[in-house]
Amino acid sequence: MNLRNYNIYFHTHTISGIIITAVLFVIFFAGSFSFFKNEITNWQKNTPASERKVNFNQVMDSLGEKYNLYGREVSLYMPPHAARINVYVSDSKDTVNNKEKGSFFYLNPETFTTQDYRTSYDLGEFLYRLHFLAQIKYPYGYYLAGGVAFIFLFALLTGLLVHWQKIVSNFYIFRPWEKLKTVWTDLHTALGVISFPYMFVFAVTGAFFLISYPLFTKPVTALHFGGSQDSLYAALGYGGHDFELEHKPVEKTVSLNDFVEKAREKWGSDVAINHVEAINYGDQSMQVHIGGLTDIKKKFTGSGELVFDAQGNMLKHTDPKKPSSYSDVAQNLVYTLHFGDYGGYALKILYFLLGISGCVVIISGVLIWLVARDKKNIPEKKRKFNFWLANIYLGICLSMFPVTAATFIAVKLNPDGGMSFIYPFYFYTWLVVSILLIARRNLYKTNRDCMLAGSLIGICIPVVNGFVTHNWIWNTYRNGYFDILLVDVFWITVSVGTFICWRLIVKKNEKPVAVAPSPRPATNITAPELS
């Protein structure tokens, strides 16, 4: 290979990677948990997902007690693997007689109790939002996460180019008994290459979700759609929600059940109805939009929509079972591939493992970077800075593991604490643990102790759940509460796995490396040896 190009790939890969390390780790770690967002919610609230039978008329009646629904848009969204319905009630277009503000909230379709967003905020939602830094003031968190996703794409490309020539031969190399730097390099290369396609998808789709609007949507709107975002959305097949209220109420009461029944007849039972929207509710101009998804086993990406007017005439029909066009597939694919919801739990677990291997690639990358520069010919000042940075990165990143595990226990003991409980608990614990680890200035101990603490706290999670809810794993298994069971079994597996890791880490550190002895053991990098 051209030596100059090789060195350029190498250097740009290193620098871009080092810059985004901490944020990218947070994104990967929290993102990996987000595949199980709804399961974590159900686990925390002890509300196992069941076959959801929704009586839409009763739902609307209960909403009608809270709001005068006339002229509003009422949107009912039924997420998969969840017990509750997400409800959005807009402001009314009748601004004279119906002034009360609309809102977003969750509704239990059996008891008709509602909960607003902040008080029902749970750990699943928290980790999901953390993975695109939504806790930072909008839109800065989104843009930061999106920018990092894009730089990550660049790092992926240059990383692949660095390894291109040896991609096959290095694929089979793994030397866990060698000195640590070799282990890290092998890990970084092998896991990086194996998970490349996965990470590539996430870098591209992640950037798309977060930074497309300012970077590409805006110029396209300005130059091709006369500045009108509505016409852009219409070209993409979205929207159609904005039309005038006629100010003529319909005579008889609206029955959403009738509309849904019509959709069921049309689509058959293997299409799951996932959203029902009534726009300009109760007016002559009312439209009912019903969305459905085909069974993933029958069609990879099939989404359909039915639009009715107030009299029940069909205005528009997109059949979810019809052959998809290129646009339909591509449009759905960016979401499907990112959310990993096309293949059941086995796929989600695989996605989780790949996500965690992303974390390993990130950390091993930082360690390679550090050790490669920990040499006599590098100026003292630079080496101090390098250690300082790696120490902070590892403290912040690795402490996420025990802190997340501890938060699972905290939300089990206080499941209805909402946002005002989870925010301070997670962020203060994380801050304190990171500061302590950073202050100790010992990378080996940071790694060792985070593994052990996470593993010990993690194994307590199913136990605490058992004591609090009596949903011990054998009970959840017997009752078929598989979402709750999944979280408990997940933590048992993770805890056992990391406990083994901890044992291996300690063993490796105790045993002096026979091959290629170095004047300082690279395993125990501490700050003092740099001074």
């Binding site: 290193t14 660049f154 591209v204 497309s212 970077l215 130059l223 646009s327």
Partner: protein, 95 residues
Amino acid sequence: MPANKKYLSSPGQRVLKVSAALLGGYMVTSGFHLFLLLFLEKKPLLVTMYFSTYILWAVLMVFAFLAKNGWKIWIWYLLISLFFFAPFLYRHWFQ
């Protein structure tokens, strides 16, 4: 084994290359897609842009860093962008 210094740029060149990669790459990417939107069917292209934009931009970043001279790559990226944006500039000034 950090990269061999003799292949890396001077600080001034580095600024030029980083800016050409990020800014110039973005200009060429958005220009290219906006230009194509003039001729091709809108929806399929708009949907393709969900992913093609970022991939193209990242590849253009690699090219910017591979360039021998930061000025040259900037000039290239500016010329290409100018070509892609020409119809819009024409419309803006003369219509």
